[in-house]
């Protein structure tokens, strides 16, 4: 008996596979898409080559003064020469190792928290949160245990930006959690106080808050009690940011099913133990991405301290561009600042997206 043999499959049409197929599907699927592609390609061609030419090919990388920038492109010599100021502000150069050490301690100290298998992570994290700020203050500010004092008016550059952001979030987080709990409380008076507080800070721009903390705070405090400029800015930032954190945490509290509250109450847990042991661990886990996003916003907002005359990264660069020896370097300076901010913010937003995927364990209702 003759067995039937199938003919081999025909290959797919040459125009629908490989590079040609991809191009046809993604760039030239219709006349309108072709038009769009051509337009976009024209845009890219218009912008990218001059940018690369300016930033890399025609750029000057080595030298010490403005006169070394001769090729007409970007003058990165400026950034190179002022790099120390951009990073540390007016921090005495022989003491800058203290800033570096603080940063390394943060990296080394926080690293175990990112290891999933680490035992007793919560205990370690709590200890780190208590010990590290004291250590950091001692290293950065000094004044006791043998380190000389560096007053906060000498702090500046990226270091100051990081200090404001870190202290801001560390102060705003506990306050924000309390406010969120207060807003969800059964007690009307507490609720009204918290809602008023939150809505007030969320309704005004950070600039006016900084203005307020710099001109009104001295009036509010009794004679003899005064804060330095940085402290006043930090108070403003913490109060402002805590309102935003409160709203993020409230989102998490609302996402916890009512059964969890009822179960905790049925176990005989009081309010604080119910919140601390049952509700908040779940709610905070849900809102970690939201908190990271708030932190990104805070990090970008730190640049506003320029308004009250603190020398953060942006202000250091702005001051450097007005130096007569380096006039006309505004573009290079701001591009460099943008790059630094971008690296931090983009990195954090990617991390937040990663967390969102990792923590998505089906808690949402």
């Amino acid at each position: 008996m003759q067995t039937h043999t199938f003919k081999p499959d025909l290959p797919p049409p040459a125009l629908s596979v490989g590079v040609v197929g991809w191009l046809r599907a993604n760039l030239f699927s219709s006349w309108f898409n072709t038009l769009l592609t051509l337009f976009a390609a024209y845009l890219v061609w218009l912008m990218l080559p001059p940018l690369i030419q300016w930033a890399f090919i025609d750029a000057d990388w080595t030298g010490t003064t403005r006169a070394d920038c001769t090729s007409g492109g970007a003058c990165w010599v400026f950034v190179q020469q002022r790099f120390g100021q951009f990073m540390y502000g007016f921090y005495p150069s022989e003491l800058r190792w203290r800033v570096d050490l603080t940063l390394w301690l943060a990296v080394i100290g926080a690293a175990p928290l990112f290891v999933p298998q680490m035992p007793r992570k919560a205990m370690y994290g709590l200890a780190f949160l208590v010990v590290y700020p004291l250590l950091a203050f001692w290293l950065l500010h000094g004044g006791f245990f043998g380190l000389s004092t560096v007053s906060t008016s000498q702090w500046g550059g990226l270091m100051l930006t990081l200090v404001i952001a870190a202290v801001g979030i560390a102060g705003a987080l506990p306050l924000g959690i309390l406010l969120a709990l207060g807003r969800r409380s059964d007690m009307p008076a507490i609720r009204v106080i918290c809602v008023t507080f939150i809505e007030f800070w969320r309704g005004v721009p950070l600039i006016t808050v900084l203005f307020m903390s710099s001109v009104m705070l001295p009036l509010f405090l009794p004679e003899g009690l005064s804060f330095d400029k940085l402290m006043r800015a930090l108070i403003g930032v913490i109060l402002f940011q805590s309102a935003y954190i409160a709203e993020v945490v409230r989102g998490g509290l609302q996402a916890i099913p009512k059964g969890q509250y009822e179960a905790a109450a049925a176990m005989g847990l009081g309010y604080w133990r119910m919140m601390g042991l049952v509700i908040l661990p779940q709610a905070l886990k849900l809102v970690i991405p939201g908190i990271v996003n708030t932190f990104i916003a805070l990090f970008k907002d730190t640049s506003l301290v320029i308004i009250i005359g603190l020398f953060d990264l942006l202000n250091s660069i702005k001051q450097a561009t007005t130096d007569p020896a380096w006039l006309g370097m505004a573009t290079e300076g701001y591009v460099f600042a943008a790059l630094i901010f971008w690296i931090f913010c983009f990195g954090m937003s990617r991390y937040s997206q990663h967390l969102e995927r990792k923590l998505d364990t089906g808690h949402k209702r």
Partner: protein, 394 residues
């Protein structure tokens, strides 16, 4: 949410009664807030007395004595601080409104572009969004102002488009219209045309619902909108007179000018906020189930109508709430004007006026209330709109 059992245990004391404890806590909280308020108020009183500052709002009537680069109402140095406040407020509103309109347009465009099946377009939109939303707005404002606007050529070497638009380091000069005698006729024709189009679309909708027959509204609307005003121009002559800027001496005269501060601020706020709006638009469109598209297409709706009648109304419901907060952010970010000296609420009032008068508390209180009022108005407006388009569920 009711979270604690509110039934007092039999035989328990007052301390274990949740209701009594709630009362106690609330009374304590109110006392603490009042005490804090009194503490601050008392300190402020003492400090003000010591510094010899009299509080009150009478300073608003004093003459300001400084000029302002951009004022939408008549203003000169002899005007009062009260008028400075109005000038600043109008400038803030101006930049917020322009920014909101432009950022919405750009944001929707980018959001749709990011979802485009065209690989190049969607990648370009992604690059734009990821770049600009991760750079602080103040830095963007500085870039546009110090690195771009101020390095434009001077008035004599300005870049011109035709003989009407000129861009230089002092701003963008453009022709300004002023109404002529026949403007009334022209405006009347436009109003009549708009009313006509509204009536026409109502009639066509009623007819469609009654008979199922479609009437292409644009067929009647376009001639109406072009024809009537055109007829008015033919009859009455040019309704607007254009004053064109001209280079006289070292600067331009005539026409309108957009000062560089306004341009830098608007550009930066638009570009920054559009990146966020684009993400909101994208998530809104993606939130509409693909089954909706398929269902609409299987009912025989063409692609355009599917988008207009099925996808967009559902996507808007998701988009509106985050869009509201972006609008609020833009209005609040307009206060960054203080960084480049655009004469807005903050830089004029909380900056110059505060420095001149020393009335810190009054000035900051007024400034903050203005922003609170703006925030509340925007969110009320958007809540109203949100309610209007919200899904009415059974």
């Amino acid at each position: 949410m009711q979270t604690t059992a509110n039934v007092p245990r039999p035989g328990g004391s007052v301390w274990t009664d949740p209701k009594a404890r709630a009362w106690l806590f609330q009374i304590l909280a109110v006392i603490a807030v009042v005490a804090l308020g009194w503490f601050l108020f008392d300190n402020t009183q003492t400090n003000l007395e010591k510094r010899g500052i009299t509080s009150g709002f009478s300073f608003l009537n004093n003459s300001a004595g400084f000029g302002i680069a951009q004022h939408l109402i008549d203003y000169d140095e002899s005007n009062s601080y009260g008028r400075v406040f109005v000038v600043g407020l109008l400038n803030t509103l101006l930049v917020s409104v322009i920014g909101i309109v432009l950022a919405t347009l750009l944001g929707f465009l980018l959001g749709v572009a990011r979802l485009s099946p065209n690989w190049l377009i969607s990648k370009l939109a992604t690059v734009y969004i990821e770049t600009f939303r991760n750079i602080p707005p103040l830095l963007q404002i500085f870039f546009w102002y110090f690195a771009v606007m101020l390095s434009l050529p001077g008035p004599r070497q300005s870049m011109g488009v035709g003989e009407a638009f000129f861009l230089n380091s002092r701003g963008l000069y453009m022709p300004a219209p002023s109404p002529t005698d026949s403007f009334g006729l022209f405006a009347g024709a436009v109003v009549v045309a708009i009313i006509g189009v509204v009536l026409l679309s109502r009639w066509s909708k009623a007819r469609f619902e009654a008979t199922g027959q479609l009437f292409p509204v644009s067929l009647g609307a376009i001639p109406l909108l072009i024809g009537l005003p055109g007829l008015a121009i033919l009859l009455g002559g040019n309704p607007l007179q254009w004053s064109v800027p001209e280079l006289t001496g070292f600067n331009f005269r005539g026409g309108w000018v957009l000062i560089p501060e306004l341009m830098a601020l608007t550009l930066a706020l638009t570009i920054y906020t559009a990146a966020f709006i684009a993400e909101n638009v994208r998530s809104g469109i993606m939130a509409v189930n693909h089954g909706q598209t398929e269902a609409a297409r299987s009912l025989g709706l063409p692609a355009g109508k599917t988008l207009r009648l099925v996808i967009i109304p559902q996507a808007l419901r998701v988009i509106i709430p985050p869009l509201t907060s972006q609008y609020l952010n833009l209005a609040k970010n307009s206060s960054l004007a203080a960084g480049i000296g655009y004469p807005d609420m903050v830089s004029l009032f909380a900056g110059t006026v505060l420095n001149q008068t020393g009335q810190a508390i009054e000035v900051i209180a007024i400034t903050m209330s203005v922003y609170l009022a703006i925030s509340i108005s925007i969110s009320m407006l958007m809540n109203w709109y949100n309610k209007r388009i919200a899904l009415i569920e059974r």
